[in-house]
């Protein structure tokens, strides 16, 4: 097992994420229950989408108190790669691993569609050279409206911490933000679902380069493993 997929009560993209990483990218992955310890061999963590704890109180607000979150904090402080997708992004914001907050969509309703996204030049792994200028990825959320105070927002912009922006903003996010990273560059969060765009039967394969970009730092030592797919 190299990639841990956290499983909270109410997670529902855990299977999809495991499938994408383990079966499509061929990187060993396993689901880890939120009451368990993060295995010591973990090299990357995906916090998957879903409705952890039924979105009670606020999305991600209860999951941040799950036992495994202590391990996750420690893991990320040591520079471990973490990716929060959808509800996972919300959990990372709630737990302070990423700045900002995600509130109800401006349109009120849940939105599920294939969304055009603009790639930002964020760091050596996540940039337009590697990912291309545009991607199409599914979104499926009711609370993806990214908010941050002025100072946070401008520091995100100045430090190139924006990963993805919406082409036509579906939820009212500030600066059309669809995904961000932390300042050290090892914790990623995004509302779109790369794990739903990886197989021949999906509308497109744009999720593959996104997941590869996330996993790249830990696989650079063994690049064949990730390029073989």
């Amino acid at each position: 097992m190299r990639v841990a997929i956290l499983q909270f009560p109410g997670s529902n993209c855990d299977w999809d994420s495991e499938h994408a990483v383990a079966d499509i990218l061929d990187v060993p992955a396993a689901r880890i229950w939120h009451k368990d310890k993060l295995p010591s061999e973990t090299e990357a963590v995906i916090v998957p989408g879903g409705f952890s704890f039924g979105d009670y109180l606020r999305c991600g607000a209860i999951a941040r108190f799950s036992p495994i979150m202590n391990d996750l904090k420690e893991f990320s402080e040591k520079g471990g790669q973490v990716l929060g997708i959808c509800n996972g992004f919300q959990i990372l914001c709630e737990s302070g691993l990423l700045p900002g907050a995600l509130i109800r969509n401006e349109c009120i309703d849940f939105r599920c569609l294939n969304q055009e996204l603009k790639v930002e030049d964020s760091n050596e792994y996540f940039n337009t050279k590697i990912l291309g200028k545009k991607l199409v990825l599914p979104i499926a959320h009711g609370e993806g409206n990214f908010r941050a105070d002025e100072a946070t927002l401008s520091s995100l912009e100045e430090n190139d911490q924006i990963l993805l922006r919406y082409e036509s903003n579906p939820n009212g996010s500030m600066n059309d933000i669809a995904g961000i990273r932390n300042s050290t560059g090892n914790v990623y969060g995004m509302m779109p679902h790369p794990e739903r765009s990886v197989a021949p039967h999906h509308p497109c394969l744009d999720g593959l380069p996104v997941l590869k970009a996330f996993l790249a730092p830990l696989l650079t030592s063994r690049p064949t493993e990730i390029s073989s797919s």
């Binding site: 009560p9 499938h19 409705f51 197989a199």
Partner: protein
């Protein structure tokens, strides 16, 4: 009655339940005098109030199919074709849902169920708990749910009340299904005045499982423990028995929710915990969800199926309200609960799973010798009934039936009384149709449903059928699902209308490349005690049953919802047909939309020539009248066989069945996906003089539009001839962004596809804009 001995049971610990069973009480429970006599005979004594409540729910139409059981026997429940015998793994009515074989050792469990009345009162919770109920039926079978769809019917979308219901129902479904993480592939939505005040909310779920993992809802093995799992029982959902709120306590009816409140998070936990538990070999003996009639139904049905007795102690039932009496606990319809019977001695294994998921698992009783269902509360027996009397001995009625006069009158309309359409009115007529909420794009609905979770969505909602890959089973096959029922045809001619629902549903599957496997149906009708309503029900069932038999597509389960009435009378008969089909390879998955210019567009099945019952009559003349289009099952079969074989050979680039709105609506819809797609269409009616309106907007059955590359045209024409399927080459797709239409060499119109699309795409959003509510 009074000579009969009173209940020998000791007095109920709650004094309000120790009342004399009066005629008034009996009638408040919806039990007829003859039925009560039968209860007395069965028991040899007077029932107490808890027992009367138990009989009332178990003998209700919802549980016992009193008025429909005889009719439902008309449905074929097994495949007749010799090679396919055994394809039905679990038959209709035997378990919580039917199961059909999909090959490689896998089966699909699926079923549709209504939640009409709760949704009329409280649309959000009503629809949400409708989804919850049907999902439990599927995972109870041991299946992992992989898709949801809905059949929804509402009144006129112009009214505030209908907008409120529509918005509430859609967000209730979205809320519940999205949280569970089961893709919702849409379904169908119709708007018709007949549903004013009585919307229909039918929810379908399908799941996959290994043949050997099929679970039974039977309590067997004397001494095996009976477990209650899931959240605690409350007083919610007692609303059906409104009596309970009024007579039994001081509280007023307003204090109690008549509609159950759903918690999708609880259901998600229950789903995962149950599947985890069922994966432990040999642990689970029987399992049943507590849906309608809650604890009552699950205990007596499992005992009855297992030919066993069962005994439970209500003191051990987890409760989230204090002071509940036996009547309330037994009749509560609190959501997200299950009854599980496990092997004696292995209790810890079950408890560990539920501890992991932080759910109650309470050992509330055990399987007994004999045939009694015994319920204890606070140390005394509060109900003692033969389990089978509740499940198998409910009375079955043949109601008098009579063809409604208004329908025979409506059928007398012919097109002679209306002049043919003027050429320069064609565009407006088309736009009126495309803007009718029934025909308009339903993106506003399905965009609120997560249809991509589980990574299996192959054809998103909005095409002829929803298609998901059986990824979770690890096999590269595709499951297609379609729902259909045009109420207008069923109203005008229930027998033919039901057949049209069937053939259209099957045609939708064929258009997506799928071979039909089986049907689940939801019979939504009015009060069966009215001869006119019963006539409609009977004719629809006959029509449907005959179509099922003809195509050898069995019914593997379904639901009946009667008493759908409101101020203006019964709803139109609405026998919703849902069909699943299988597509063997990804290459055969076919969409309804043309993706490129230069494809030939061919109409298979003949030029439409019937106007009766059409949406054109509705939008132009506000009429629900006329003779329903002909249904020729033989022609339909030839058409679908041809289509499937052409798809198998990779010739069909897009296929779309003609339905509401007819040819021009169907053609427009096919062109809406691309940018700037158009088509040059030239129709030659040569042999017959057809009315222009009937040709362009009539809803003749057995018609499919296909797009093929020019190189394949010849072969398609020859094969059509051989298959005795009428073939008309209409024209070619292009990049003009316009439909140039001529009929018999006369130019009819030049239609801007962008304009048409905007009418079609914006109709529902415009109605639902918050400012317009």
């Amino acid at each position: 009655m009074s000579e009969l001995i009173p209940s020998p049971l000791v007095l109920n610990p709650d004094p309000v339940l120790n009342v004399e069973i009066t005629e008034e009480l009996i009638s408040q429970h919806g039990i007829l005098p003859d039925e009560y006599e039968q209860i007395l005979k069965i028991l040899g004594r007077v029932p107490n109030l808890t027992e009367l409540g138990i009989f009332s729910v178990m003998w209700s139409e919802h549980c016992a199919y009193k008025n429909t059981r005889k009719l439902l026997r008309l449905f074929p429940t097994e495949k007749q074709d010799k090679e396919s015998i055994g394809q039905v793994l679990v038959k209709a009515g035997d378990e919580n849902a039917g199961v059909i074989d999909v090959g490689e050792g896998w089966g699909v469990a699926f079923k549709i169920e209504s939640h009409n009345h709760p949704s009329a009162i409280e649309p959000f919770e009503g629809a949400a708990t409708g989804v919850g109920g049907i999902v439990r039926d599927i995972f109870t079978m041991g299946a992992r749910p992989i898709l949801l769809t809905n059949s929804l019917r509402f009144g006129n979308l112009e009214t505030k009340q209908v907008k409120r219901l529509f918005r509430g129902v859609v967000s209730g479904i979205s809320h519940y299904g999205n949280c569970l993480g089961i893709p919702n592939m849409g379904g169908d939505v119709y708007f018709d005045d007949c549903y004013e005040g009585n919307p229909l909310v039918n929810a379908l779920c399908a799941g996959v499982l290994r043949h050997e993992d099929i679970q039974k809802g039977a309590a067997t093995g004397v001494g095996n423990p009976v477990y209650y799992v899931g959240p605690g029982t409350g007083r919610d959902g007692l609303g059906g028995a409104s009596f309970a709120s009024r007579e039994l306590t001081e509280e007023s009816a307003e204090d109690r929710p008549a509609v159950q409140k759903g918690d999708p998070f609880m259901e998600k936990l229950l789903l995962e915990a149950c599947l985890e538990m069922m994966a432990i070999p040999g642990l689970v003996v029987g399992i049943q969800d507590m849906g309608a009639a809650g604890l009552t139904c699950s205990t007596c049905e499992t005992a009855s199926r297992g030919n066993s007795g069962i005994e439970i102690d209500l003191d051990l039932v987890p409760q989230r309200e204090t002071g509940m009496n036996s009547y309330e606990i037994m009749l509560s319809e609190s959501q997200e609960r299950m009854l599980v019977i496990v092997k004696k001695g292995r209790e810890r294994e079950l408890e560990e799973v539920f501890e992991k998921w932080d759910l109650h698992a309470a050992h509330i009783g055990e399987v007994k010798n004999g045939d009694r269902m015994v319920v204890r509360h606070k140390g005394v027996v509060v109900a003692d009934l033969p389990a089978k009397s509740l499940t198998d001995e409910a009375p079955v009625y043949d109601q008098p039936s009579k063809e409604p006069v208004h329908v025979t009158e409506a059928r007398t309309w012919t097109d002679k009384s209306t002049p043919d359409i003027e050429i320069d009115s064609v565009e407006d007529a088309l736009k009126n149709l495309l803007g009718h909420p029934t025909i308009a794009s339903k993106r506003w609905v399905w965009q609120q449903y997560d249809h991509m979770v589980m990574s299996g969505c192959k054809i998103e909602p909005g095409s002829d059928a929803g298609v998901v890959r059986l990824s979770i089973a690890g096999i590269d096959k595709y499951l297609a699902i379609a729902n259909d029922c045009n109420n207008r045809f069923c109203y005008l001619d229930p027998y033919k209308g039901a057949q049209i629902a069937f053939v259209e549903c099957m045609r939708n599957l064929a258009c997506s490349g799928a071979k039909a496997l089986a049907v689940t149906d939801n019979l939504n009708f009015g009060n069966p005690n009215k001869p006119e309503a019963y006539y409609m029900l009977k004719e629809c069932v006959k029509g449907l049953a005959d179509a099922c038999a003809f195509f050898d597509v069995p019914v593997v389960g379904g639901n009946v919802s009667l008493y759908n009435e409101h101020g203006n009378g019964a709803i139109d008969p609405t026998p919703v047909v849902s069909m699943v089909g299988l597509i063997d390879t990804q290459e055969q998955v076919t969409r309804s939309q043309i993706e490129e210019p230069g494809l030939a567009i061919v109409l298979l099945g003949g030029l439409p020539n019937e106007l009766g019952g059409s949406y054109y009559l509705q939008t132009q003349f506000n009429k629900k009248e006329g003779k329903v289009p002909e249904v020729n099952l033989e022609n339909e079969k030839n058409l679908q066989d041809l289509l499937l074989s052409q798809i198998e050979q990779g010739r069909i680039r897009a296929a779309h069945d003609l339905a509401e709105g007819g040819l021009l609506v169907g053609l427009s819809e096919m062109l809406f996906s691309g940018t700037n797609l158009g088509a040059k269409i030239s129709i030659s009616s040569n042999e017959n003089a057809i009315r222009l309106d009937a040709l362009l907007f009539g809803e003749s059955q057995g018609r499919v539009l296909v797009a093929v590359s020019s190189a394949d045209l010849d072969d398609l024409r020859k094969t059509s001839d051989l298959a005795a399927v009428s073939y008309h080459l209409l024209g070619k797709s292009d990049e003009t962004g316009k439909i140039e239409l001529e009929v018999d060499e006369q130019k009819i119109s030049s239609l801007d596809v962008g304009d048409l699309k905007s009418v079609w795409a914006n109709a529902i959003p415009n109605h639902m804009e918050p400012t317009k509510n």
